[in-house]
Amino acid sequence: MSELLFIEGGRVIDPAGGVDGLRTVVVRDGRIAEVAERVERPREARVLDARGRWVTPGFVDLHVHLREPGQEYKETVATGARAAVAGGFTTVAAMANTSPVNDNASVTELVLARAAAAGLARVRPVGCVSRGQKGEELAEYGELKAAGCVALSDDGRPVASPALMRRALEYARAFDLPVAVHEEEPALAGKWAMHEGAAATRMGLKGMPAQAESAMVWRDVELAELTGGRLHLQHLSTAGSVRALREAKRRGLRVTGEAAPHHLALTDEDLARAGYDTSWKMNPPLRSVEDRRAVQEALADGTIDCVATDHAPHSAVEKELEFDAAANGVVGLETAFAVCLGLVRQGLLSERRLIEALTAAPARAFGLAAGSLAPGAPADVAVLDPAAEWRVEPERFHSKGRHTPWKGAALTGRCTHTLVDGRLVHGS
């Protein structure tokens, strides 16, 4: 006897399938059975009333830090996966900068086992580019892929050596893995606390120039051309980086890019207005108005493929400090949709493009079987109320992280239900 669920009355937005309109989504035994305008509903089917809501593929986040193993006081795979589904995310790519780092199968397997036990979002581990994330030797990409890694990244730190980066892009081709990079030329960046500009000058904080990021992006675009490797540019934050990515795509290289909600919505001047609040400190830092504009435009026109949160939880131990001394990183899973919907309301992004950037586009960038409501696909679904008004109260987050620049802010748009494999993992 099969189990049937009808998600009825909602506006289905599935960019992968070219669908946007009132539809019923039929879920049978954990898979999408069909998406249609009129479907006969059998008596035994359960119903999820989605009137006034958007029904979309579950979101895909290519950039989260779940902190397990090693820093479970900041986040665990389970709490991070819980935060993910609360935000509408059904697939998250977990960065490798845990303790120990994910440079071997045992760590990958541990993350997957914890995710399976939690039974919430799908957690797709990302392995290290370099052994120990030391930037010296290649990690074992074949073993990492076999264990379940979907990409490689030393995120948290850049791959400083151009020679290692070249070999990483080359060697990863053997296993068809994208190399995802945090772009920051370390010597040019120096010790910094925020973006270099008038706001940093006024606050007396050491700035990191935008070019510390874009110079490294240009380097890696050249290396992608040299090697034919798959390059994914993480959390792009500057106009120069966007220019380099646009050029890479013009050349037809296999290069993709992501942008974080905070870089899409906020600037260094907003940080200055917030004082020295470490809930506004992250890497890359909030940039200038011109940079934000370029990143917004690039996301809208598809130059930047997708939105990724860079969800980076920390505890009060790392954050209740002088701004210089505080750790970089803010949480994002539970606010991402509402923040990005704000861009739609400002007319900077279409609704369809926003959903694509949260679903089909990131899935494509990492080659994941996710982000679509095609018949036969696992029923990973987000039901969203685009009109829901709510106040951000970090103490009510599912994440253990409490640091967000939207603390206390009034946002519009919220995920009401999330399904993974047809199971309701968020909402009731």
Binding site: K206, G207, Y276, E322, F323, D324
Partner: protein, 324 residues
């Protein structure tokens, strides 16, 4: 209270009226300094804690002297030898000190924003005695006081009653490592509110991005920067900046951005005075004959610093009516 403010974190937050409130009270305080018996009972029973996380002799002594003249009890807490070296956080240190019930916490810290972090978490008044490259508000106020005194003297007015209105229309050139200077930033937040124009000058490596948006006119050549200026403030070149690599060395720096008697005579307006926040690197930014010469108001700055800090402590410790 200084106007609306319970703390003194920066001059950015202060408006013209609030700045004048401190400066005018400092005039009365300076009169106390001229008395043979330099002690008034105004803050008797009040406690001032100097919490210094960065080495400082001048500023700490100045606050301590100011507190003692006002009869407040002053406690000096320095980072070395304290629990900070055992890994205690700034917030913990401040809360522990607060439990000793001080009325004013004077903080110097290498991290910009540190006094503000403390102010948000303690009940007593907080005075920023210099935070990173952010602000040094008492220095900004004493510089304004000193300039007003100089312009009053030059106009033939009574030295004991500086006319702060005389800052209007004047031009002050600040020369040196502006990028690392909290003194320059506090001056940029203070002097324009009193009607003065500010120029900054130094090698491009020492001029921070977007400083012109703080109202500064940017120069790289010293003769141009000081031409027609009514006052020149020379900043200290910190030895750790050499090879940072902001400048190639002190020899070249002093050749192009240092001031000696010949350059002063040739380039400065006849009545222009010279300030320096101290301590001076003699022979680097300032030649000894200029530091000690007739244009120098550097020792006036030190004395006015005590008067200005008396005014700040008085206003924030909530002393009685101003019967000094």
């Amino acid at each position: 209270m200084i106007g609306r403010h319970r703390h003194l974190i920066g001059l950015e937050e202060l408006d013209r009226g609030e700045i004048l409130q401190v400066l005018q009270l400092a005039t009365s305080m300076k009169e106390v300094l001229r008395r043979p018996l330099k002690k008034v009972p105004t803050l008797r029973g009040k406690a001032v804690v100097n919490l210094f996380f960065e080495a400082s002799t001048r500023t700490r002594s100045s606050f301590e002297t100011a507190a003692k003249i006002l009869s407040a009890d002053a406690l000096n807490w320095t980072a070395a030898g304290s629990s900070v070296s055992k890994g205690e956080t700034l917030v913990d240190t401040a809360r522990n000190l607060e439990a000793m019930r001080p009325d004013v916490l004077v903080i110097r810290h290498a991290a910009s924003g540190a006094p503000r972090l403390v102010a948000e978490r303690v009940g007593c008044a907080v005075v920023n005695a210099g935070d990173g490259a952010h602000e040094h508000p008492s220095q900004g106020l004493l510089d304004a006081f000193t300039l007003a005194e100089h312009f009053t003297r030059a106009a033939g007015g009574p030295e004991a009653a500086p006319d702060f209105g005389l800052l209007a229309g004047k031009t002050v050139a600040i020369v040196g490592d502006v990028s690392h200077s909290r003194v320059a930033r506090s001056a940029l937040h203070c002097l324009p509110k009193l009607g003065a124009k500010v120029r900054v000058c130094g090698p491009p490596t020492m001029i921070p991005a977007g400083i012109e948006r703080m109202g500064a006119e940017v120069h790289h050549a010293l003769p141009e920067a000081v031409k027609g200026a009514d006052a020149v403030m020379m900043l200290r070149i910190q030895h750790e900046r050499i090879g940072d690599p902001l400048i190639p060395g002190t020899r070249e720096y002093s050749k192009f951005w240092g001031l000696n008697a010949r350059k002063a005579a040739e380039w400065l307006a006849p009545g222009a005075c010279i300030l320096h926040p101290g301590p001076i690197n003699r022979g680097v930014e300032l030649a000894p004959e200029v530091a000690d010469g007739p244009r120098s108001v550097i020792l006036d700055q030190v004395q006015n610093g005590v008067a200005v800090r008396m005014a700040i402590l008085y206003l924030l410790a909530g002393g009685g009516e101003a019967h000094v």
